[in-house]
C-alpha cells in the first residue's frame, strides 16, 4: 500500500516537473510574441525578406541577419565536420593508446574556453592573418569565383565561419569519438574478417554503425553555431548587408541583438530586435526538429522495416 502511494506521488511530481518545462517554453514564446507585436504589425512578412535596417527612419528588415546566421553556421559546419570526424576517428581508432586520453581531454578542454576568448583571438590573430595571408592567396588563385572577391578586411563572413568551426569542432569530435567507442568490436571484426583494410573497416563497421550518433553530434554543433553571439560579434564585421563574397562583413541575428539592444531607444526598434530573437528561436527550433526527425528516421530504418 505504502509503496504504491509513494510510486503514485513520484509519478505526479515527475509529471508536474515535465509539464512545467513545457509551460516555460510556451511562456517564453508568448511573451516574446507579445513584445515583438508592434514590429510584426508594422512590417508583417516584409520583415523576413527585406534588407533595410534603418533605426533612424525606423524601417526594419531582418533578412541580412537571417542570412548571416544561416550562412555562417552552414559554412562553419562544412569546415568543422570533416575535421571533427578525422579527429574522432583518430582518437577512437588510430591513435596509440597512450595518446588517446590526453588528446581527448585536450579537445574537451577546447569546448570549455569562453567564447569571448575565442573572439579576442579572432581579432588579434585570425583576422590579421586572413587579411594578410589567406585572403590574398584565395583571391589570387580562386578570385574568378565571386566568393573570393572584394576588399581584404580580415573581419567578415570568412573569419566568423572559421571561428565558429573552431568552436564547434570540440563538440562534434568529442561526441563522435564517444559514439565510435560504443561500436561493438564484433562489427569491426566482421569487416576485418572479410579482408577489409583499416580504413575500410572504419568506413564499413564504425562510420556505418555510428552514423545516427554522429548526426546527433552535428546537431549539437550546429545549435551552438547558430546561437553563438560573442565571438561572432567580434569578428564578423557587423554590417547588415548580404554579399556573395566571403570576405565581406556580415551580421548575425544573435550579434545584432547583443550589439543594439542597449541602444534601442524607441519601442519599434526594441520590438524589431525582439522579433529577431523570436526568429532565431524558431530557426533553431526548426533545425533541431528536422535533425531529430532525420535521426529518428535513420534509427527507425535500422531497427525495423
Amino acid at each position: 500500500m505504502k509503496i504504491k502511494s509513494a510510486d503514485l506521488w513520484f509519478k505526479k511530481a515527475a509529471a508536474i516537473l515535465a509539464l512545467s518545462a513545457a509551460a516555460l517554453v510556451i511562456l517564453l514564446v508568448c511573451s516574446m510574441a507579445y513584445y515583438a507585436l508592434p514590429a510584426i504589425r508594422k512590417f508583417g512578412l516584409h520583415f523576413l525578406h527585406t534588407s533595410t535596417w534603418d533605426p533612424v527612419k525606423e524601417i526594419f528588415g531582418a533578412l541580412p541577419f537571417i542570412y548571416g546566421t544561416v550562412i555562417s553556421s552552414a559554412l562553419a559546419l562544412l569546415m568543422a565536420l570533416p575535421v571533427s570526424l578525422g579527429i574522432a576517428v583518430y582518437l577512437a581508432e588510430l591513435a596509440p593508446c597512450c595518446l588517446r586520453e590526453p588528446l581527448s581531454f585536450l579537445i574537451e578542454l577546447l569546448a570549455a574556453i569562453p567564447s569571448v576568448v575565442y573572439g579576442l583571438w579572432g581579432i588579434f590573430f585570425l583576422a590579421p592573418f586572413l587579411r594578410e595571408t589567406v585572403q590574398p592567396f584565395l583571391f589570387r588563385y580562386f578570385g574568378f569565383l565571386p566568393l573570393f572577391q572584394g576588399e581584404f578586411y580580415g573581419v567578415g563572413m570568412l573569419s566568423a565561419a572559421i571561428i565558429l568551426s573552431i568552436m564547434i569542432i570540440p563538440t562534434i569530435s568529442s561526441i563522435s569519438r564517444e559514439v565510435f567507442l560504443t561500436v561493438p568490436s564484433a562489427q569491426r571484426e566482421a569487416a576485418l574478417a572479410l579482408g577489409a583494410t583499416r580504413w575500410e573497416t572504419i568506413r564499413l563497421a564504425v562510420l556505418g554503425y555510428a552514423r545516427s550518433g554522429v548526426l546527433g553530434a552535428v546537431i549539437l554543433g550546429l545549435g551552438r553555431a547558430l546561437g553563438e553571439t560573442m565571438a561572432v560579434t567580434m569578428v564578423i564585421g557587423n554590417r547588415p548587408e548580404i554579399s556573395g563574397s566571403l570576405f565581406a562583413p556580415a551580421y548575425t541575428m544573435a550579434s545584432v541583438i547583443a550589439n543594439e539592444f542597449s541602444e534601442a531607444t524607441t519601442d519599434l526598434y526594441l520590438s524589431a530586435l525582439i522579433e529577431i530573437g523570436f526568429i532565431l528561436f524558431f530557426v533553431t527550433l526548426i533545425i533541431n526538429i528536422a535533425a531529430r526527425a532525420l535521426i529518428w528516421r535513420v534509427s527507425a530504418k535500422i531497427k525495423a522495416k
Binding site: C97, P184, S185, A186, Q187, R188, E189, A190, A191, L192, A193, L194, G195, A196, T197, E200, L204, A205, L207, G208, Y209, R211, K301, I302, K303, A304, K305
Partner: protein
C-alpha cells in the same frame, strides 16, 4: 594441397592469460573439421588464430606457426588483409552491418575486392543467399536493413556474406547456436555442399552436430588439443579418457 592448414606449437595469450598451449594439428583440405570442447577451452581463440583475427584484440599475443597451403601466415611478409580474404569467418553471434541493406551486407566483401558491376553482384548475392538458405525469406526485401531480420536469419545473412567472397577456408564459430532446428538442418546441408570446394572448420557445442557434419574432430580442453582424429573414431573409440568423458556427457 592449397588450403591445407598445418599448425605447430601454437601458443595464444590474452595479456598474461594463456588461452592455447602448444597446439599441433594438421587440417586436411576440403573436409569438415569440427572443434569441440567445454566453454572457455580456447575453441574460438584457436580458429581466430587461423585468420589472424586473434591479433586485433588488444594485448593479445601469439607464438608458433600456422601454415596455409604451405605458407606461414605469420611470416613477416604475409599480409593479414590478403589472408583474411582467403579465409571466411562466421561468428558466434550474428553481426550484420546495421547501416547496410540485406543486399549490401552480402555484397560488402565483394565490393572490398573491387567487384562493382551490378550484374556480377546481383548474381553472386542471389547465389550466396540461396546457399545459406535465406533467399526465399528475403528475396522481396533485399533493400531492408540487415538487422531487420530475426537472429537466425541474421546468422544466415552472415553466412551468405562470408560465402560471397568465395574464400578457400571457412571458419564457423558455433554458427547454429541461435538457429531453430529447421535452419540448423539447412546449414548442415550447406556444409555438405561446401566441403566439395572449401576447407571448413566448425566450432560446435552440439555433439550430434559434430558427428553429423564433420569428417574430423578435434577435442580441446583447457587450451590444449587433447585428441584429433576421424570423427567416427572420436565418437566410437576415443583414445583419451577425457575425450570419452566429454562426449558421453560425464564432463562438467
Amino acid at each position: 594441397m592449397e588450403a591445407e592448414i598445418k599448425v605447430s606449437n601454437l601458443y595464444a595469450y590474452f595479456g598474461s592469460i594463456c588461452a592455447l598451449r602448444g597446439i599441433n594439428i594438421s587440417i586436411k583440405e576440403k573436409v569438415v573439421t569440427a572443434v569441440i570442447g567445454p566453454s572457455g577451452c580456447g575453441k574460438s581463440t584457436f580458429i581466430r588464430c587461423i585468420n589472424r583475427l586473434h591479433e586485433v584484440v588488444p594485448e593479445a599475443k601469439l607464438s608458433g606457426e600456422v601454415l596455409l597451403g604451405g605458407k606461414d601466415i605469420y611470416s613477416a611478409d604475409a599480409d593479414p588483409i590478403l589472408i583474411r580474404r582467403k579465409i571466411g569467418m562466421v561468428f558466434q553471434r550474428p553481426n550484420p552491418f546495421p547501416a547496410l541493406s540485406i543486399y549490401d551486407n552480402v555484397a560488402a566483401g565483394l565490393k572490398l575486392n573491387g567487384i562493382k558491376r551490378k550484374n556480377d553482384l546481383d548474381g553472386i548475392v542471389e547465389r550466396s543467399l540461396k546457399m545459406s538458405a535465406l533467399w526465399g525469406e528475403v528475396k522481396d526485401k533485399l533493400n531492408a536493413s540487415g538487422v531487420s531480420l530475426s537472429g537466425g536469419q541474421q546468422q544466415r545473412l552472415c553466412i551468405a556474406r562470408a560465402l560471397a567472397v568465395a574464400p578457400e577456408v571457412i571458419l564457423f564459430d558455433e554458427p547454429c547456436s541461435a538457429l531453430d532446428p529447421i535452419s540448423t538442418g539447412k546449414i548442415e546441408e550447406l556444409l555438405f555442399q561446401l566441403k566439395k570446394n572449401y576447407t571448413i572448420i566448425i566450432v560446435t557445442h552440439n555433439m550430434q552436430q559434430a558427428a553429423r557434419v564433420s569428417d574430423y574432430t578435434a577435442f580441446f580442453l583447457l587450451g590444449e588439443l587433447v585428441e584429433f582424429d576421424k570423427t567416427q573414431d572420436i565418437f566410437t573409440k576415443p583414445k583419451d579418457n577425457r575425450t570419452e568423458d566429454y562426449i558421453t556427457g560425464r564432463f562438467g
